[in-house]
């Protein structure tokens, strides 16, 4: 069991066996029944979850009282890594679709390790960074498309203001 728990997860694949053991020491088991919430939109995220089995659904309240389904994610995977790096509230809800087995790492314990200069923790954040870079590239593509479409549709001048606001946040 030991050592195998992080196998197949890109987030930990560049770690040596010793470094994997260092991360393993931070892991606590967690399980969720079908329908149980792992993250609640707007609440603080305290853990990074390594899902070892099961499926979760991601929802966001885009319009008041209307939860929109954004994604379905299957184990093995990791959720909560953006919150770990950003120390922000959950931007979406993550709900177990079927029973979920997971291992969790408390943000506090991980950030403490990072602060103390642990090279293992830095290696993990490097992998998180690569994931985020990829996500950002996808978000960039989507925004490019929507901006182009808004340009096509510019039927009223208000659209300019709105488009500009979108572009300002963009940077790159």
């Amino acid at each position: 069991m030991q050592g195998a728990r992080l196998e197949g997860l890109p987030l930990f694949s560049n770690l040596s066996p010793e470094e994997q053991a260092e991360i393993e020491a931070l892991l606590e088991p967690a399980s969720f029944g079908a329908g149980e919430e792992i993250f609640e939109e707007g609440s603080p995220e305290k853990y990074l979850y390594v899902l070892t089995s099961g499926t979760v659904k991601v929802y966001k309240e885009i319009f008041p009282n209307q939860r929109q389904h954004l994604a379905t994610i299957h184990a093995p995977t990791v959720v909560g890594e953006l919150g770990l790096m950003n120390e922000t509230k959950a931007a979406a809800s993550v709900v177990a679709e079927e029973p979920v087995e997971a291992l969790r790492i408390s943000h506090e314990a991980f950030l403490e390790k990072l602060k103390s200069g642990s090279s293992t923790a830095h290696k993990v954040t490097y992998e998180i960074g690569r994931t985020l870079a990829e996500r950002m590239a996808k978000t960039d593509e989507s925004i490019t498309k929507i901006v182009a479409r808004l340009e096509d549709a510019r039927s009223d001048r208000d659209f300019d203001v709105f488009r500009n606001k979108l572009m300002q946040e963009w940077g790159f």
Binding site: K60, L70, A91, L132, I146, E151, W170
Partner: protein, 173 residues
């Protein structure tokens, strides 16, 4: 003029030894007005810490040419460009051009990659710094995307439904 990473604010999170490591691989570069630091789409960018001058960030919008996204002044807080390229394997998502005379410290992508391969703690620390920057930006972008969707809905732009759906699907978690 100071182009040594040992004396530049951005590198303050590194120890003296780690800064010296970056001093070894970094290059002091200068650009004349109109010159390109980073070219959209070509290849992943290197990281530039601007030490003087101003740059313009622009992006190609399909069917609508190039749009200016931002102007960055080395005198201000935000003086780093191209950081995503160090962690990414995709082409740069925008073009960065010198608005006037610009000086910068360049950390070439391939040098950074080599440091990572060699297990350099300094390189991993820089990666962590970049990851935090990306996380902040991604969170802001996601919020903006949601606002956009709400705005489209409010305006009843049914013509844009497909894009609204697309935005939702791509929304990051």
């Amino acid at each position: 003029m100071d182009g040594d990473p040992r004396n530049v604010g951005f590198f303050e999170f590194l120890s003296t030894e780690e800064r010296a490591e970056f001093a070894e691989v970094s290059e002091l570069v200068a650009f004349t007005p109109g010159e390109t630091l980073i070219e959209e789409g070509s290849e992943p960018s290197s990281l530039f810490v601007l030490t003087s001058g101003r740059v313009e960030v622009s992006k190609r919008i399909p069917r609508h040419g190039e749009r200016i996204l931002a102007e960055i002044d080395a005198a201000n807080e935000k003086t780093v460009v191209g950081e995503r390229g160090l962690l990414d394997s995709r082409g740069a998502s925008a073009t960065v051009r010198a608005k006037g005379e610009v000086e910068a410290i360049k950390i070439p992508r391939e040098k950074f990659r080599a440091m990572i391969s060699a297990g350099s703690p300094a390189a991993y620390k820089l990666a962590t710094r970049i990851t935090r920057i990306l996380a902040r930006r991604l969170t802001r972008l996601d919020e903006k995307v949601v606002e956009t969707i709400r705005e489209l809905e409010y305006r009843g732009e049914t013509d844009l439904d497909v894009f609204r759906d697309k935005l939702v699907t791509e929304w990051t978690v």
